[in-house]
Symmetry: C2
Subunit: 284 residues, 2 copies
């Protein structure tokens, strides 16, 4: 991990995740520069010693003096940014992202990218239901998963670099998946889960029910407080996988519904035993 | 709350909830007797000073010396018990339960019950994903809801008695609902929620996915670890309300699915804004 010692790191997009990366990496001694269109975010980060320097527009010299660039942008903006400004990247620079979908961006970026820099995609599976650099906190990386999603075009060195990034950020588990495996996994574990929470929440204008809520309903709907701009983009970019799992879920749920309707006690019990058995994998 | 001072309380059914009631009430100085068919549960509770006396069968003298009887049994067993042994109740005894469904039991019990005792139903909305008196813990009542569900046949004194029971057990919010309001609320907030968790869990044999799970999936499936005997009975006893909410949920979820399929960005965002707005009620 030689890159660590004197590296200058540029973070593009200083929201919750970008800010949390900045905090973790600056504490380790890196020189952290941020670019974000929001003056308020940059000023906040400077005032709170989260970054060393900050800019609200793309400054060529800043980009070309950075050994590593971390993009914490929405997927489409990320692709545009690289198309527009890749001429500024320092030769040999290592580039990564934080995006929650992979297949739809990784190949396009690698296709358009200069040969003398390398893009290795990664996904920090951490978040909060609040936004902005003001809420950034690298404690969210503890007990969380960091997934590196290389393609055949990535070098071993870049994969190692990305894995070590996850480690020094404080993630508990670092994994390597193909972009396709990643997107299938995320379609089920994260996106389907968010669609369920949203739909459960919109079932009823339940203001009068608040006083009777138990923990289970609160837990299931915590993520129903959702950033609609980001998640709409993520859902559509992973549409195929997400629809596949939504359809599987509708089948499972409808068949349980029909068992209840026809009072199929044994079928219901078998379903619940299966659920209990599978949930046990997740207790480890 | 005169009943408090020297009352002898009988708890029938010494599982997680019965045991938690026993702990809370004994600490307040009540004399606590328990009846449970399991010798092991009674012995455990005696050894750990959770109860004063315990029996593994129904002893007439024990029932007839109790000022209050709390049933922590499954709904059908509860009805049978009262049918079989109500002759033993002490004149003037106050009787309550802990059952998670109400309409289907409250009226039947009140219909069959002797005139000189009173059954006032209540539902402690608290639980854990583990079972048995060994796991009992009255800390689960803190920050939880206690619902009293009287009918027209209940006296004001009994309603007050049940409300004060919730208070001394340590519940944070005590509410009064009709049995029908209770069952509709529980169909949505608790039963639908459990059906969703079970169905999400059975969507995939996801053993290989455990390493990538974020908090949201874990939170949504915590209750997928489920007691199939109890919940099958509860679902079937509240079948009409539960099916109503399952159908509403399928509609909501399917319409979100269709928006994603046809890439209806504005529809998706509007749905998520509604979800965020409604979830905000629950943050108070």
């Amino acid at each position: 991990m030689e890159w660590i010692s004197n590296s200058r790191i540029l973070i593009v997009g200083l929201g919750l995740i970008g800010g949390s990366y900045a905090k973790a990496l600056r504490r380790l001694g890196f020189h952290i520069t941020a670019i974000d269109i929001s003056r308020r975010s940059i000023d906040y980060a400077l005032q709170h010693d989260i970054i060393d320097d900050g800019y609200t527009s793309v400054v060529g010299d800043v980009v070309s003096s950075s050994d590593a660039v971390i993009f914490a942008l929405y997927p489409k903006v990320l692709k545009d940014w690289i198309g527009d400004y890749q001429q500024y990247f320092k030769k040999g620079a290592m580039i990564t992202d934080v995006t929650g979908v992979k297949s739809c961006i990784v190949y396009d970026i690698q296709d358009m990218l200069r040969d003398d820099v390398e893009f290795i995609a990664s996904h920090p599976m951490a978040g909060k239901e609040v936004y902005g650099v003001e809420n950034s906190d690298d404690a969210i990386f503890r007990n969380a998963n960091f997934i590196v999603t290389p393609t055949e075009r990535n070098t071993k060195a870049a994969i190692l670099w990305a894995k070590s990034l996850g480690k020094i950020l404080g993630f508990s588990r670092i994994s390597v998946l193909s972009p396709e495996e990643h997107d299938e996994m995320i379609g089920y574990l994260s996106q389907l889960t968010h669609c369920i929470a949203v739909s459960l929440m919109t079932c009823s204008d339940n203001q009068h029910l608040v006083d009777y809520t138990g923990d289970s309903f609160r837990d299931l709907t915590r993520i129903a407080n959702i950033n609609e701009e980001m998640w709409t983009e993520l859902f559509l970019l992973n549409r195929k996988e997400l629809l596949k799992y939504m359809d599987i879920f509708i089948d499972e749920f409808s068949s349980l519904r029909d068992m209840i309707e026809r009072e199929d006690t044994e079928g219901m019990k078998a379903r619940m035993r299966l659920s209990t058995e599978r949930r046990a994998y997740f207790n480890k």
